[in-house]
Symmetry: D3
Subunit: 171 residues, 6 copies
């Protein structure tokens, strides 16, 4: 793993690093985070979902659209033409907790970790926004990279994360 912060040059000045020599490879990143809330709040989200009014549907769109804005939000991120973005929501009703997972793919010169992490962040923020009238003490957390494939540095799979599933193991 690199020994230096690549986003600064030798004089400590922030730069958008040159990726011109990198190969265009197929890349995938998966990130996950969660939002914790009162159990009653989550019950209400899930109740409504069955009827009508789907918090997760709105948060999903927000996350997908945010993934496309990543390079406009994160100062030193490279613009990328994303091949796909998908988000999954895993509610844990007994725990007042919703996990959010984003998968982003690209064929390009840089990885899409930031796009996946940004999608998760904005999706959880959107859940917060839609539920804040009934619960102001929600906490967004555990936003992390689960895995990453493609590019010169090869694959990364988060250590003890032992993610017990994914889409398949979802709800």
């Amino acid at each position: 793993m690199s020994e230096r912060f690549t986003h600064f040059d030798d004089e400590g000045q922030a730069i958008m690093v040159d990726v011109g020599d990198k190969a265009d490879t197929q890349r995938l990143a998966v990130a996950r985070g969660e939002i914790r809330m009162r159990e009653a709040t989550l019950e209400r989200i899930l109740d409504r979902r069955v009827e009508k009014g789907d918090v997760f549907a709105v948060a999903r769109i927000a996350g997908i659209m945010a993934a496309k804005q990543t390079s406009a939000l994160i100062p030193l991120c490279h613009p990328l033409m994303l091949n796909s973005v998908s988000l999954d929501f895993f509610p844990h009703p007994g725990e007042g907790r919703v996990e959010v997972e984003a998968r982003v793919k690209v064929g390009g010169k840089t990885g899409v970790e930031m796009e996946a992490l940004t999608a998760v962040s904005v999706a959880t923020l959107t859940i917060y926004d839609m539920c804040k009238a009934v619960d102001k003490e929600m906490v967004i957390g555990e936003i992390r990279l689960l895995e990453k494939h493609g590019g010169k540095s090869g694959s990364f799979v988060r250590g003890g994360a032992a993610r017990p599933g994914g889409r398949e193991s979802g709800e």
Copy 2:
């Protein structure tokens, strides 16, 4: 506290709720979150800071600019003309942890919780981006509203948060 999700109408359709009858009042929101990393990563951030190349300076700008884009990111958020935005970074070197706090003010019809939370989220994402070449296992978490003032619902101060300081108690 309201018994309904205000971002859906009676038929469960997402709406940007009408705030036309709300008064323009001075509003403040304070949000906080953190990013956890290997101690060596944080040491490197702090070392460089003394010399040159300041991760927090870049993250601060990213957070401020993101606060101004909140209504473009969060689907049902109202546009607001923010009066001020500031971010503070509280590194805890022994714990490999950096806390980020955002304060946002507005004179307007809706609160600025989402702006403060978005600023914290994007600032922590920017730290992640700048350090990910040396540490891919960083975790962003504990993003929450600390306090909120102004508007009809009055002041909210997070329960057990007992924030032991703030800017004053910073570094």
Copy 3:
């Protein structure tokens, strides 16, 4: 009704006209449009809606977010802090036709016709995008202002439009 194009000065140069002398009043605009498609396409949209996968829910979010970007899209439009945006979808299954109606409110110096029309346009474009794999011959049309209230020029209600309902009469 004005006898001149207000978006040009005396020399025929495009300007964003000065609204500084206008009063801040409560303003409402309602716009409507439609997208026509094969009956089978609409049936599929409505079928899925009952199960899962709601085209209208995605289009609604797109329309609301577009309303907030109106002044960035339409060159001479003034920025406004919208008070509310809502969209309704009225499917006419026997006719292969979906009507889309947007209502936008603001307290400000200029009307919100463009915001309502933009919301309708982008919502219908989003329906097109989501259905174009099964039907490339859809047509977007009849995008028009239904009514407008507030401001010095007073209320406008579209002539022969005799809108037989609205939200109430919707589906």
Copy 4:
């Protein structure tokens, strides 16, 4: 033609579909729409055009810039690096009607139908904006895809559209 809505996964969740396996091919899309207005309004537009103050010139710029923002407006659209965008305006003075046609090209993995349709939509909205002080009853309509080339699904040319020309047959 596909039998499913590609923008939902098997569980009915909106996704930005994976285009990673698609080839980069040269693609073209042509869309057309119109705005109908009182004859006197169109006469005024055309009069001014001869002198000074060109409504179509402003609408053309708005349409081109909107084409570049398509993936930010339409939730599930892929970002694309457009190769070219052009817009043509075909006024029909005797009918109080202006047709707008957009042509968009790209070398990429997805088609540019949405970019062409978005360019037409925003160009007609801009005409509406610039003329609304003298005519509030304008109607935007007949926005449709005329043709589309490139990509695995091959060429599409709209059925009965029998477009009697194009740029050549214009004014």
Copy 5:
């Protein structure tokens, strides 16, 4: 005139300063800049203008739209709801020089100097873009604030600038 840089707090951290205590007043800013080019290039611009194809018309729209994006471009700028924006172009054919002047008005808590300067900058950049195929040695310069009115600090009129006119004295 203030003795401190208001965009840093006491610890030297960048902030978007609090304008909550400032009064909403009517404000105006006028900025001017120029682009210098070969005389032949300017002749060509002016020739085409008479016929068809108006470089200044495109640059004017770009400048107006950029003024509305100022707070998204300049990190510590406050968002503002502009009341008006206009740009004028003053070609000096004998000198291969085009002056660009922007006037921006707002009723708000902060001045609009940055909006006027940004409009001039982007308008001159747009001229550069449109002419760079025939002249790569153009120089953009003399971008400065001419005058500023409204707000607690009162009026500022640039010293030796002795602008001999304005729109009136233009060409």
Copy 6:
């Protein structure tokens, strides 16, 4: 050098020109500009820099982020996936003058002159914004292309510019 303005078609209508036939080549552009101010203002910038509060660090981020927004700001610019962006600041304390240089690289079909010039423009505007409380008479100028490589037209190096250094000769 081309004899025509490529951004207009034969009828004088603005177009985003077709670059579909151009090859993807490695391209570099370097632009430079300056901002002139009172010597005392520059001294203050440089003083603070040593302590804390770095005007250039904020301006650098603004310039990098603006480079990524170029195609959204300049109407007829093509979107590009930039490979790298860097900015350097060369203060000339005895002259009350700061030079700003931007270097932008891409592998693509069009050059990145506009991205480099836009980065310089927005960086100087940001310096203006941060110093305007103490000096309203600053002037931004001499924004020009220094060199450009790649593409069919080959290399361009500005004539008498004889740039006496670059990063090396910096501070």
